[in-house]
């Protein structure tokens, strides 16, 4: 199987791609103006913020950046397209010929281009309603080579891309939309408008099985465009077009060629590389590190700032615990205190985290401290403080001081240690244990 993707990524900019309208309106048709409505006489003006984000993506995907970037009109007729053309990029795309790497797999990236979203179509009974809030929203389209060979590779590719985008400040978890090109043989099938990573993988799986079945039955795979039905978890043929679509691209004469060479953008984080290096240096589990940090920059920051000062295992454990109890918002100082507790073998419960957050001294029982271990620690203490055994031999009351010290050290109540302390003292005094 060969899979190629055309991925549409919504950019988190404050205004639309070619006008000043906001991007977060909720009521339909409230964030609109003559420009995004395509009114006669209006002209586009390019949003610099969108260029900055898009350049970050192109750079992260190792693309060659076209320093002089330009736009084209892609002409087609549909009610959601107010100008009857979409402003997009072709020859002068921001990025060209890059790649994305994960594990040992490398997927070629053909193009990274900026373009505008059309309006949203809402079907309500016999009516087709249009919401122009979405018209002119900034999108980046990433076009890959057909290098993905299996569902596992597709999953890996999408997860890695999502992580890279996440670290650039773009969350595509549910928003990712893509067209899939799937072929098991010569003819390829295009599956249009699939939303979400899970659905993309399922659509690919369905297509692979469907096409393989056809081949097995000796039938030809028809080169066609299909859609994905989420409920049926199946691809379905879309309405046939009578002729091949021709877009009649035209260089966009309202936008000049833009020089992007002086624009600075966010540098990428490749989580595979980062976690691999950390695992090597601090002898930690690479997979665990990756799982924790792939879509969580806060955790990566914590690891980076505390590594070397604490055991990596303890840092990882602390992150796992705060994630488990939904305490990711804990302050840096409280988090660091938690690691100290872990190093002292304190079991981190929700209660412990809350106590630490409140700034209280944590007095918690050692859950794992066995009788034998407690005895070993008492012996160790007495060996460090031989004078105390001599005191005890002279005056049994000296035991109280020892009980107090041990309970403080082990975070245990004096009642819970007194019996053992007395037993050890007696054995030691009797020479059964040599101090």
């Amino acid at each position: 199987m060969r899979i190629g993707l055309e991925i549409h990524i919504a950019l988190p900019t404050r205004s639309k791609l070619f006008c000043a309208c906001g991007t977060s309106a909720e009521q339909p048709n409230t964030a609109i103006c003559p420009i995004c409505m395509g009114f006669p006489g209006s002209k586009p003006m390019l949003n610099r913020e969108a260029v900055v984000v898009a350049l970050g993506i192109a750079n992260a995907l190792h693309c060659k950046i076209n320093e002089r970037t330009s736009f084209v009109r892609k002409i087609y007729f549909y009610p959601d397209l107010p100008k009857s053309y979409q402003i997009t990029q072709l020859g002068g795309s921001l990025g060209e010929t890059g790649y994305l790497q994960y594990d040992k797999k490398k997927v070629g990236i053909r193009r990274v281009q900026l373009e505008e979203d059309p309006a949203k179509i809402v079907r309500e009974g016999a009516y087709t309603l249009l919401d122009f809030n979405r018209s002119g929203m900034p999108l980046v389209e990433v076009v890959t080579d057909p290098d993905i060979r299996s569902q596992e590779e597709l999953w890996g590719f999408l997860r890695t891309l999502r992580s890279i985008l996440y670290y650039l400040g773009i969350d595509i978890d549910k928003e990712v939309k893509a067209d899939l090109n799937v072929s098991v043989g010569r003819d390829r099938v295009e599956v249009k408008n699939v939303t979400g990573i899970k659905n993309l993988v399922e659509a690919a799986k369905f297509e692979e099985e469907r096409q393989e079945q056809l081949v097995k039955e000796g039938e030809a795979v028809k080169q066609e465009t299909r859609g994905y039905n989420e409920k049926k978890r199946a691809t379905e043929p879309m309405r046939e077009k009578e002729t091949d679509e021709e877009y009649g691209y035209l260089y966009e004469p309202d936008l000049t060629v833009f020089d992007v060479s002086k624009i600075s953008y966010k540098k990428p984080v490749y989580i595979d590389e980062v976690t691999h290096a950390l695992a090597e240096k601090y002898k930690a589990n690479e997979r665990t590190l990756k799982e924790l940090t792939m879509f969580d920059s806060r955790s990566l920051e914590r690891i980076e700032s505390l590594k070397g000062r604490y055991r990596m295992q303890s840092i990882i454990h602390a992150i796992q615990r705060i994630k488990k109890f939904g305490k990711e918002g804990i302050s840096d100082s409280a988090f660091e205190k938690m690691i100290g507790l872990i190093d002292n073998d304190v079991e981190i419960t929700k209660h412990v985290i809350e106590e630490v957050e409140r700034g209280r001294e944590v007095v918690v029982k050692h859950a794992k401290l066995t009788e034998k271990e407690l005895e070993r620690r008492i012996v160790e203490y007495l060996r460090e403080n031989r004078r105390l055994l001599e005191d005890y031999k002279k005056n049994k009351k000296a035991a109280n001081l020892i009980i107090g010290e041990i309970s403080k050290r082990e975070n245990l109540h004096p009642k819970d240690v007194s019996k053992k302390v007395l037993a050890v003292l007696d054995k030691a005094a009797g020479g059964e244990i040599s101090i």
Partner: protein
């Protein structure tokens, strides 16, 4: 020539001047059809300054703006074009109305619209196009300036045919925001007026950077005087004899004014019509794609139809020339032919600009504005499309190259005015206005009317 703007300011106007002017213009319009919209109620910032009109493809908030097309009938823009905004903000101009034009600017004689404007000198003759209404209005009104627009000669040609000054600035000197697009890489807003001084005053008011138009980037305008005038042999050859004769007299007169007129060969200028129409039609066909009969302008109404069907039926309301340019422009952009036509036209355009630049560094280019005398409406309407396009021979080179040019009246033949066109290097706009200022000192323009005189 005196500036009508300055003269108007110095006059004491009767209190109801604007209402009376609007009423007179309404009457006049029944004969000349120069206006598509008249600000009769004088709403907006009226009653203060010099009356001005804008071509019907420049958006004016609150006034029907149709670009001469049935497809935009009833369209009232919710915003002002930048040039309108600047005119009104100055407080020195009063909006009089919008002027007639060929549908979307598609025409040389002003005939490609439902009710064409008439020539101000003789109603049997064409007003010219596409800014025919603007030129006729300027020729008829005593105190008035017109904002017009040129893609391939739409300011110079009608100005010449109505005996007024038509100034087309360097591409990108004036914001196009709010201009209803014909061909975006060619469209320029300019001025039609009764003197170079008026053109300069309006130009200085409306020009300059605008964040709403990315292509409006020409900042500094130069005034490099040129003593040398070049006449291109290959262009002049194509003029008909009744145009050549007065033109030769103009050449002698210029020489007597101390200018050096040189005949040069620059064949590429005679090859500009084809690349121009290819680029203009390719761009126009995309600009016209948005008119579909339900968002603004014409309300086609039959919303029950499937979109393809609805779209196709609604678009039957375009005029013949608009349909021709949509079809040709769409064809030109087709994958199988685009390199043969569109890409080649872009290369030719580049070559033309380079060869013109070389000449314009040393002097002006001089030619008649149009190769024929003003035709009668009945004669012009019999021309084939290709014959029509050939009339743009002189105006196309500066328009295709984005060079500033000006058409000025220099003679009268059979009682009708004839115009000459002067072209300068990019951003050297003031030198053109400066020359016409000088020309006006030795040549008195005859105007067709003096409506609104005080």
């Amino acid at each position: 020539m005196t500036s009508s703007i300055r003269e108007f300011a110095s006059k004491k106007k009767p209190g109801d001047y604007y209402q009376r002017l609007a009423a007179e213009v309404e009457e006049l319009n029944k004969e000349y059809h120069a206006f598509t919209t008249i600000n009769a109620s004088q709403k907006g910032k009226a009653g203060a300054g010099v009356p001005f009109s804008s071509k019907a493809n420049i958006c004016v908030k609150g006034f029907e703006t149709t670009a001469g097309s049935k497809m935009l009938r009833g369209y009232v823009p919710p915003f002002n074009a930048t040039v309108i905004e600047r005119m009104l903000a100055s407080g020195e101009y009063s909006f009089l109305g919008e002027t007639n034009m060929d549908e979307f600017g598609f025409g040389t004689f002003g005939l490609n619209t439902e009710v064409p404007a008439r020539n101000a000198f003789d109603k049997a003759y064409v007003a010219g196009g596409s800014s025919g209404g603007a030129a006729a209005a300027t020729a008829l009104l005593k105190y008035h300036v017109a904002l017009a627009e040129s893609t391939g000669g739409s300011i110079a040609t009608p100005a010449a045919l109505n005996g007024v000054v038509g100034f087309t600035p360097t591409y990108g000197a004036v914001s196009r925001y709010g201009l209803i697009d014909y061909a975006n890489s060619l469209d320029k807003i300019g001025v039609i007026s009764r003197s170079a001084a008026d053109a300069r005053t309006v130009f200085d008011l409306v020009r300059g950077a605008d964040s709403y138009d990315t292509t409006c980037v020409v900042g500094k305008i130069r005034d490099e005087k040129k003593e040398r005038f070049y006449v291109v042999k290959e262009l002049l050859e194509a003029a008909e004899a009744p145009v050549k004769r007065p033109f030769e007299k103009l050449v002698s007169k210029l020489e007597s004014m101390g200018r050096k007129v040189e005949r040069i060969s620059l064949g590429i200028l005679a090859e500009a019509i084809e690349p121009y129409y290819i680029i203009a039609m390719a761009e126009a066909s995309t600009n016209l794609a948005k008119y579909n009969g339900y968002k603004y302008g014409l309300q086609y109404g039959e919303l029950y139809k499937r979109y393809d069907e609805f779209f196709t039926s609604a678009r039957e309301n375009f005029g013949t020339e608009a349909k021709r340019r949509i079809i040709l422009g769409t064809f030109i952009r087709g994958e199988s032919v685009r390199d043969r036509y569109y890409t080649k036209a872009l290369v030719l355009r580049r070559m033309l600009i380079e060869s013109m630049q070389k000449v314009l560094e040393k002097g002006f280019l001089l030619s008649p504005t149009i190769p024929i005398l003003t035709p009668k409406i009945s004669d012009a309407s019999r021309l084939t499309p290709v014959q029509n396009y050939a009339m743009d021979l002189y105006t196309i080179p500066p328009n295709l190259g984005g060079f500033p040019h000006i058409s000025f009246p220099y003679d009268y033949v059979n009682g009708m005015p004839v115009g000459a066109q002067l072209v300068a290097a990019q951003a050297n706009d003031y030198s053109l206005l400066g020359f016409v200022d000088e020309w006006e000192k030795g040549f008195a323009y005859r105007f067709a009317g003096n409506v609104g005189d005080i």
